[in-house]
């Protein structure tokens, strides 16, 4: 069976060369064949600006928490309790069903061991996956793709949408030698855009045939991939997309990003890793509690993820979604009813293969003796341990030493993935 598939694939791939008229369902089928059927997916979400993990997954069982945050703590009565010690911010009610169905796991007191409290450096270290090393050129997720077991690709065909980031520029996480594509709006992915009007199709065909016939080996190959990608996307008809029933994405960039990721996944275009981000977490002043800035942002965040999960439906069985933020915030609130740059944070992991309904990691507590540098939640789980488990257990990556040079998470895995 596998042999026949491969032959079909090779033939159809060859057929793409030199013709502009290949029916789009064929190209789609070709990629669907490579990437469908047991292919695993990973979605990585970055909360930029250092989210306040302590007001997102609230340690309501710790009296110290309430002492340290007299005005911005989430009152025990409002917290959505999870296990007696921790509870969700009330704005994150959308996460409760995912927790109850044991698809959502939480890793608290996780983060980067580097003690930088600069957004710039800390994001850089987390995205490169090499805390403390500035000159790392590529991102951890790109290295993960570089080192992936190549069994499916032996048919020498990789979907151009295998690694996708939503946004105008490729994020540091996905930068590197493995081809990854940044898309800000999947409806505008093509030649000429809307502005070119009726001529767009012809211009696109002209470019395609120029590149297809070019003797330039580098540009010929990429040109071919490019136009396959354009056609694949067109055949998916993203403009006419309707999310699944019950998938109510909140308005805003983050919801738009996740809706588009869902579109790409459901169109079966061979997406294997996807990246999106959400900013605005730097709440130094008037962070708020059950209302206010943190409440609005956690609502948008959780509703978008929950809508995405509803939207992708059965595909969730082979998908793992993980969230991260560059560092946490001070355990104590500051003089402006906000929080300053801290250390450890909370990560969410959501997915079919996830053993959810549990808070993982060692909780160091908020007692001042246990605070990092006397002020912040201590990191007891390195973020690379969490990502490493996703990569190895879920994606089947066997080269974590290359993905995270100088770090070996294997011995410390938390076993949150089946």
């Amino acid at each position: 069976m596998a042999v026949t598939r491969r032959v079909f694939l090779k033939n159809s791939a060859l057929a793409v060369v030199g013709t502009t008229a290949i029916p789009s369902f064929l190209t789609r089928a070709a990629f669907a064949d490579v990437n469908g059927g047991g292919k695993k997916r990973m979605v990585v979400l970055f909360q930029r600006g250092a989210a306040d993990g302590l007001n997102i997954v609230v340690p309501h069982g710790e009296p110290t928490y309430y002492q340290m945050r007299p005005t911005i703590a989430i009152p025990r009565a409002s917290v959505i309790d999870l296990d007696g010690l921790f509870g969700l911010h009330p704005s994150m009610a959308a996460f409760k069903p995912l927790w109850d169905s044991k698809q959502l796991a939480i890793i608290h007191a996780s983060g980067s061991p580097d003690n930088s409290r600069s957004h710039f450096d800390a994001q850089d270290y987390m995205e490169s996956g090499t805390p403390g090393v500035k000159s790392t050129e590529d991102g951890w997720l790109n290295r993960a793709l570089q080192t992936e077991v190549q069994h499916h690709e032996s048919a020498n065909k990789v979907s151009p949408f295998k690694a996708v980031a939503l946004g105008t520029a490729l994020p540091r996480t996905l930068a590197g030698s493995y081809p990854a594509v940044a898309i800000s709006n999947i409806n505008e992915f093509g030649v000429g855009g809307r502005a070119a009007g009726p001529a767009a199709g012809g211009l696109s065909n002209s470019f395609e045939s120029m590149y297809a016939q070019s003797v330039d080996s580098v540009l010929h190959g990429t040109g071919q991939e490019t136009f396959e990608a354009v056609k694949m996307l067109k055949s998916a008809d993203p403009a006419r997309y309707t999310p699944a029933a019950g998938a109510n994405y909140p308005r805003g960039r983050f919801g738009d990003s996740l809706r588009q990721v869902a579109q790409l996944l459901k169109a079966d275009l061979g997406v294997e890793v996807a990246f999106a981000d959400i900013g605005g977490w730097d709440h130094h002043v008037n962070e708020g509690s059950t209302q206010g800035q943190i409440a609005n942002l956690t609502r948008e965040f959780s509703q978008a993820i929950a809508a995405f999960w509803t939207d992708i439906g059965d595909l969730g069985a082979d998908t793992v979604l993980v969230t991260m933020s560059e560092f946490g915030r001070t355990a104590r609130e500051n003089g402006s009813r906000g929080t300053d740059h801290g250390h450890a944070n909370v990560m969410f992991v959501l997915g079919g293969p996830v053993k959810g309904g549990k808070v993982y990691g060692r909780w160091p507590g908020l007692d001042s003796r246990h605070l990092y540098e006397g002020r912040d939640l201590e990191v007891t789980t390195d973020f690379r341990t969490v990502l490493g488990e996703g990569l190895s257990r879920h994606m089947g990556n066997r080269q974590l030493a290359t993905v995270f040079p100088g770090f070996s998470p294997e011995s410390k895995l938390l076993n949150f993935i089946r």
Binding site: N115, G132, E137, F189, V191
Partner: protein
């Protein structure tokens, strides 16, 4: 080599000596590739492709008239080239000539605004300057108020409208009331804005200046983006700058920097100097969006990079090492010797730490972005301290970031023969190399109190304790190191020859480097005179970076750039925002980094947009493309004329045929266009767009 082939070679060389068409004959002899030379007719094009950001209309003829070698010599001596035209274009950009302190004062960063708002710094007395401060303080207070109300996001000023649109669904009654009021004042502001737009430029400017900051903000917010553009119409550059500064003072600095880079790349006659300034900036990369580097980068390029672009490498190295932009970017400014006065006192209780404190206040007075306990390593120390219940002020320590990149990326190269121990030793040597008042735009200073005492050992050499001079000694050592000679030579060859330059060429360049005490001009001379540079293998061997692609497209079409921001945005989409490379590696020069699906689409779309005149403020010069050509009588000759103008005629048969075929597409020739001139213009746009997006144009 067999006896026979050797004899053939001898014969060929003899022939070469006798005959004028030597290069042609050699080119035909297989296996002697390195001696083969680019066809004479392509020499000028090749030189222009490599030494400039791409030929402009008429350039090839000019270079041929002067003689290619003579032209290269001239480019190596930029001081002999009159560049007044580009200087005139840059005249309106005041920040380009400002020292950093003045820049910070005129275009205050948020920290300074906050300090003035909180009464910690005084407002400047100059009315133009204080107008900027007042506007910014108003915006700052407005933001704080919005945050306090807890509605919407703490986003950028001017997004009220968007917030109102998205937030309406779950609004409290109070918020609804407030939103209603806002709507009314918006209506009022809209009316104000409309009258404003009808005024003459001068009246408009003075009316805007007379408004209170609040009214001004409301008025600007009432305008749609394209209407905001109109506010600026007819104003003098100074007036524009003044208004922009009131809206976003730091933006003025980065806009002017980005625009000046593009304008120089497009219009400067000193093209090699521009190419090299770009090359060295990228080599000694800093990221202009990191904190104080927002206002330090202008001076960095102007004072540290440009003056040495064709000078001595050691001067370049010293200039970058002591520039605040680099000291800030790679954190050396806050590196503290563990056994220095500051290191010892800062880490241990209160006794006698006045000096360390005094130093800290320099960082902290304006609430600098980095906290003093933001040091790297020293983790075990901090933990012990935290456990002991000490005040949360951990010991500040050595920061190795600059020392590491100095050797790995700036001089020796990653395999240049240094160890982790050398990194630590160099970091110690460079302690005390810091910035005086970084948030106020201060200069480099050596601060003895931060300097690690004792002798150091770098690359097997003892560096005697000697304060600031230790660092100078080490930088000189690194600059003349054979690994540096090789590393720099290879990188230059990668820029000018190919992604994988021949090793023999790199060796000869490195030899010149060592012989000439790292004279960049001499190393380039060796390169430009080498057979490898002129080898047919090198012709169009390089895929253009996005910057090279965009600028070469603009140059070759004789385009008039009125708004270089449009080009800057294009570069952002192409993945190469100017001054926007975060890691210290700088942008890659290799094809693989730039050839991918999304980038290729963006290149095609830029090409079509440029050629059809759809980019704002960018006007393609059709006459320059059609110049000297006989008026195209039919589609075939029109394609030929455009291909001649944009690719010096070197276009593949396939590309030509494809474009020709495209012209028959009825969608392109709408019947509504009856006027033959307009039809030709529209066709010209299509042809030029396809040529600029073709595989051929992606290479240089």
């Amino acid at each position: 080599m067999t006896e026979r082939s050797r004899r053939t070679t001898v014969v060929l060389i003899t022939l070469a000596l006798l005959s004028g068409s030597a290069s042609l004959l050699l080119a035909k002899s297989k296996g002697k590739k390195s001696e083969a030379q680019i066809d004479d007719s392509k020499r000028a094009l090749h030189a222009l492709n490599r030494l400039t950001f791409g030929p402009r209309p008429g350039d090839i003829e000019k270079v041929n008239a002067m003689g290619v070698d003579k032209w290269i010599d001239l480019q190596l001596s930029p001081e002999k080239i009159n560049d007044s035209a580009v200087e005139a274009r840059l005249e309106p950009f005041r920040t380009l000539k400002m020292d950093t302190r003045t820049m910070v004062q005129n275009f205050p960063p948020p920290k300074v605004i906050k300090a003035v708002a909180d009464g910690r710094l005084r407002m400047p007395s100059d009315p133009k300057e204080s107008a900027v401060y007042e506007a910014q303080i108003d915006a700052y207070k407005n933001r704080a108020e919005r945050k306090a109300q807890g509605d919407g996001k703490p986003g950028a000023p001017g997004d009220d409208i968007a917030d109102a649109a998205t937030g309406e669904m779950n609004m409290s009654p109070e918020a609804k009331e407030r939103s209603l009021q806002q709507q009314q004042s918006r209506n009022y502001a809209q009316a104000e804005a409309d009258t404003l737009l009808k005024k003459s430029p001068q009246d408009r400017f003075s009316a805007i200046m007379k408004m209170t900051p609040e009214d001004r903000r409301a008025t600007v917010q009432a305008l749609r983006p394209e209407e905001r553009e109109k506010l600026f119409e007819g104003l003098s550059p100074e007036q524009r700058e003044q208004l922009q500064a009131m809206a976003n003072p730091q933006g003025v600095i980065s806009n002017e920097l980005v625009q000046s880079k593009l304008l120089r790349a497009v219009y400067s006659e000193r093209q090699l100097d521009e190419v090299m300034t770009d090359f060295w900036f990228n080599h000694f990369n800093v990221f202009a969006q990191k904190g104080a580097d927002r206002f330090l980068t202008t001076s960095y390029e102007r004072d540290a990079i440009r003056p040495h672009a064709l000078g001595k490498f050691k001067d370049l190295l010293m200039a970058t090492a002591t520039h605040p932009a680099m000291l800030f970017y790679l954190d050396n400014f806050e590196s503290v010797g563990p056994n220095s006065q500051a290191g010892l006192n800062g880490g241990r209780g209160n006794r006698g730490n006045n000096q360390a404190r005094r130093h800290e206040t320099l960082f902290q007075r304006l609430g600098i972005t980095k906290r003093p306990n933001n040091r790297r390593p020293q983790r075990s120390d901090s933990n012990t301290m935290a456990k002991a219940g000490a005040a949360p002020r951990p010991k500040r320590g050595l920061n190795e970031n600059y020392a590491r990149e100095l050797m790995e990326l700036h001089t020796l190269g990653v395999d240049g023969g240094y160890t982790q121990k050398d990194i630590i030793e160099v970091a110690k040597v460079l302690t005390g190399w810091t910035i005086k008042q970084p948030q106020l735009g201060g200069d480099y200073e050596f601060n003895e109190r931060l300097h690690e005492p004792g002798d150091k050992n770098v690359l097997g050499q003892r560096i005697k304790e000697d304060g600031e001079k230790e660092g100078k000694k080490v930088l000189e050592m690194l600059a003349k190191h054979p690994s540096t000679a090789k590393f720099i030579s290879r990188k230059l060859a990668m820029r000018f020859v190919s992604d994988t330059p021949p090793e023999a060429l790199v060796d000869r360049m490195a030899a010149t480097y060592l012989k000439s005490d790292g004279d960049i001009k001499e190393v380039l001379r060796t390169l430009f005179k080498s057979p490898e540079f002129w080898s047919p293998d090198a012709y169009r061997a390089k895929v253009k970076t996005p910057l090279e692609f965009v600028v070469s497209a603009v140059r070759v079409t004789g385009t008039d750039v009125n708004n270089s921001q449009t080009l800057a945005q294009a570069l952002q989409r192409l993945g190469m925002p100017l001054y926007g490379m975060q890691p210290p590696t700088g942008y890659s020069m290799k094809a693989e980094a730039w050839v991918n699906t999304a980038a290729l689409l963006n290149r095609m779309n830029f090409a079509l947009g440029l050629a059809s005149g759809k980019l704002r403020g960018i006007n393609i010069n059709k006459d320059a493309i059609l110049k000297d050509a006989p008026p195209p009588t039919d589609a075939d000759s029109e394609v030929a004329v455009v291909a001649n103008a944009l690719l010096a005629g070197d276009i593949s048969q396939q590309t030509r045929a494809t474009i020709r075929k495209q012209l028959d597409d009825p969608a392109l020739n709408p019947r509504s266009i009856k006027d033959s001139e307009r039809l030709r213009d529209s066709q010209l746009g299509i042809i030029a767009g396809l040529v600029l997006g073709s595989p051929e144009f992606q290479r240089r």
